[in-house]
């Protein structure tokens, strides 16, 4: 703060952050008030600078926190689209040379494929229904299967950090570790998915006849093999749904779902019904789970309460040193994060070597209190 003694021009004051904060926010951290009164000449200069600052305010923003949150969401969607586009372009460059060479071969193949398709469709009665078992048999990666036979939802954490809240009477099959460029899981029944973001490795949920593709988001899939419909409901991010290649060989439509949109797939006639207003749909609203109703936006909230919210949402038990953390408050946004990610953020924020350990639905936090 010594440098202000050398100020002789209006400009010096105008660009001084501490001075600005005194005038505009009335926060006088550096004792400007006293300093000003030290000399008459100085007081005049300060007054001029003050008036000028008061006269050049900029209208403040009209965007709310949720506007900004939404803008961030749509930016991630733009990023995904641009990245997809970029890979398409580089692919097509390579293919350009091959194309002419291969076009003759391709024409012959197309003719052959069309005949086969025609044959299949005309002669062989087509099997339209796919169930979980058939899907699993298709996959050769060596899957782990988890079944929820209890009467409460169960949390499953996948190797990429994504979490799945599996409802009673439901099954999920997934590889122990995701390898390759895709993450594929198979669902029978109902689950709420929170996927960790990774644009390079899209996440696929195979459920009965439909395939749901995402990059990082949260959504619910309901696909019981004995029910006539399959439902997908999106909470955050963007999701693409199409029917499984096993039932339709042609390049059928792909439905894009945005937050709070849903889709019902009618298994008997393989049709998609998009539902843009989920509050009007009785079937969907009556089955909204805990996790979809709880807010994970916290402003200066005691850590204990944040843990309690997580316990309710994921039906887990969180054990933490209550005394050591009783004075800790956090401001953080945990929406759209899988469970492990949420725990990681909270632990990092508490600091002091705070860590967590997870065993099934039992979570143990070790901490020495917050800073």
């Amino acid at each position: 703060m010594q440098k202000r003694n050398t100020y002789t021009e209006l400009e010096d004051f105008l660009s001084d952050e501490s001075f600005q904060s005194w005038i505009l926010n009335k926060i006088d951290e550096d004792g400007w008030e006293e300093w000003t009164l030290e000399s008459q000449q100085r007081a005049k200069l300060v007054e001029d600078a003050r008036l000028l600052l008061l006269a050049m305010k900029v209208p403040s923003s009209t965007l709310s926190a949720s506007d900004i949150h939404n803008a961030l969401q749509s930016t991630w969607i733009k990023i995904e689209e641009k990245e997809n586009q970029n890979t398409l372009i580089s692919h097509s460059k390579v293919k350009f040379l091959k194309k002419y060479f291969l076009s003759g071969v391709a024409a012959t193949l197309v003719f052959g494929l069309v005949s086969v398709w025609f044959y299949n469709n005309q002669i062989v009665p087509k099997n339209n229904v796919i169930t979980y078992k058939e899907l699993i048999d298709e996959n050769s990666e060596g899957l782990v299967e988890q079944t929820n036979n209890s009467d409460k939802p169960q949390i499953i954490t996948l190797s990429d950090g994504s979490s799945v809240l599996l409802q009673p009477n439901s099954k999920l099959s997934y590889p122990k570790i995701f390898t390759g460029n895709e993450r594929k899981v198979y669902l029978s029944g109902e689950g709420f998915f929170e996927i960790s973001k990774n644009p390079k490795k899209p996440f696929f949920v195979y459920a009965n006849e439909i395939v749901t593709k995402v990059v990082g988001t949260s959504f619910r899939v309901k696909a019981y093999s004995d029910q006539p419909d399959v439902e997908v409901l999106v909470r955050t991010g963007k999701v693409r749904v199409k029917s499984n290649d096993l039932i339709s060989r042609s390049n059928q439509e792909e439905v894009v779902l945005l937050p709070n949109q849903a889709l019902r797939f009618v298994r008997s006639d393989l049709s998609f019904n998009k539902i843009t207003n989920i509050t009007q749909d009785e079937e969907l609203t009556k089955s909204v789970g805990n996790i979809e109703q709880l807010s994970f936006e916290f402003t200066d909230i005691p850590v204990s309460q944040i843990f309690e919210t997580m316990e309710q949402a994921y039906l887990v038990d969180i054990d933490y040193p209550k005394n050591k953390l009783k004075d800790c408050h956090l401001t953080t946004s945990l929406s759209d994060q899988p469970l492990t990610e949420k725990l990681k953020i909270v632990c990092n924020s508490i600091g002091n070597n705070t860590s967590f350990e997870m065993n099934g639905n039992q979570i143990i936090i070790t901490s020495q209190g917050c800073n």
Binding site: L10, E11, L14, S15, E17, Q20, L24, L51, L52, L53, L54, A55, M56, K57, V58, P59, S60, S61, L63, I68, H69, A71, L72, S74, T75, K78, I79, K82, E83, N86, K197, D300, D327, C328, H329, L330, T331, T332, I345, N348, S349, I350, G351, C370, N371
Partner: protein, 203 residues
């Protein structure tokens, strides 16, 4: 009561920027949340198409993430963002007025109106008058001078950064600033005595 904020929030811009370059999505999101509203405000002062401005700002962030490997590691993040938004909007104008063959960012006029601090409770009537008068003088300045003043004193950029943004040399940028304030000072001195007189008579 003890309050602990998210650790990330306390990181400075350049740390976040370099994390982002490494592919850290959290850092990207924090920078986004920190600057989005401000950039939209600035964008709105350059373009009358409010609905496209948000798109432009989002495109700037999209490119930052998609081409993060090519970003320089030593930048002043705020200046970089403001400058990128300005270029985006200039490009938008180019496309819209394709027949005018405008190629530089000169074409965009700074439309922002400075406003007056409203809660001057502890100030007397005369002060309020003076502030209002100064505000009018500021808003009557040529657009480029106004923008230079805004970038310098509202956004806290250095003269070098302003020169780079407005695509002029250092001297021209400091001239813009100097002339802006000079006009104010001249007009101000002249009219102050008048206002002072007026306020004396009203007392």
């Amino acid at each position: 009561m003890k309050t602990q904020n998210l650790e990330y929030k306390t990181f400075d811009d350049i740390t976040l920027w370099n994390n982002l370059k490494e592919g850290d999505e959290k850092s990207f999101s924090i920078l986004f949340e920190k600057y989005y509203a401000d950039l939209v405000n600035y964008g709105n002062s350059l373009s009358p198409y409010t609905e496209k401005v948000q798109d432009c700002v989002q495109d700037v962030f999209t490119d930052i993430w998609v081409y993060r490997n090519k970003l320089q590691s030593t930048v002043v993040v705020k200046a970089y963002l403001l400058s990128s938004v300005r270029k985006r909007i200039a490009r938008l104008h180019e496309r819209d007025h394709i027949f005018r063959k405008v190629t530089s960012t000169d074409s965009i006029a700074f439309l922002l109106e400075f406003s007056v601090e409203h809660d001057l409770i502890d100030d007397d009537y005369a002060t309020k008058e003076r502030v209002a008068h100064l505000n009018k003088l500021l808003n009557d300045l040529p657009a480029r001078q106004k923008e230079a003043l805004y970038l310098r004193y509202n956004q806290g950029l250095t003269v070098e950064q302003i020169a780079e943004m407005l695509e002029v040399n250092y001297q021209s940028a400091s001239n813009l600033l100097y002339r802006g304030l000079l006009t104010l000072r001249k007009e101000w001195k002249g009219s102050f005595s008048l206002i002072l007189l007026l306020s004396l008579t009203t007392c």
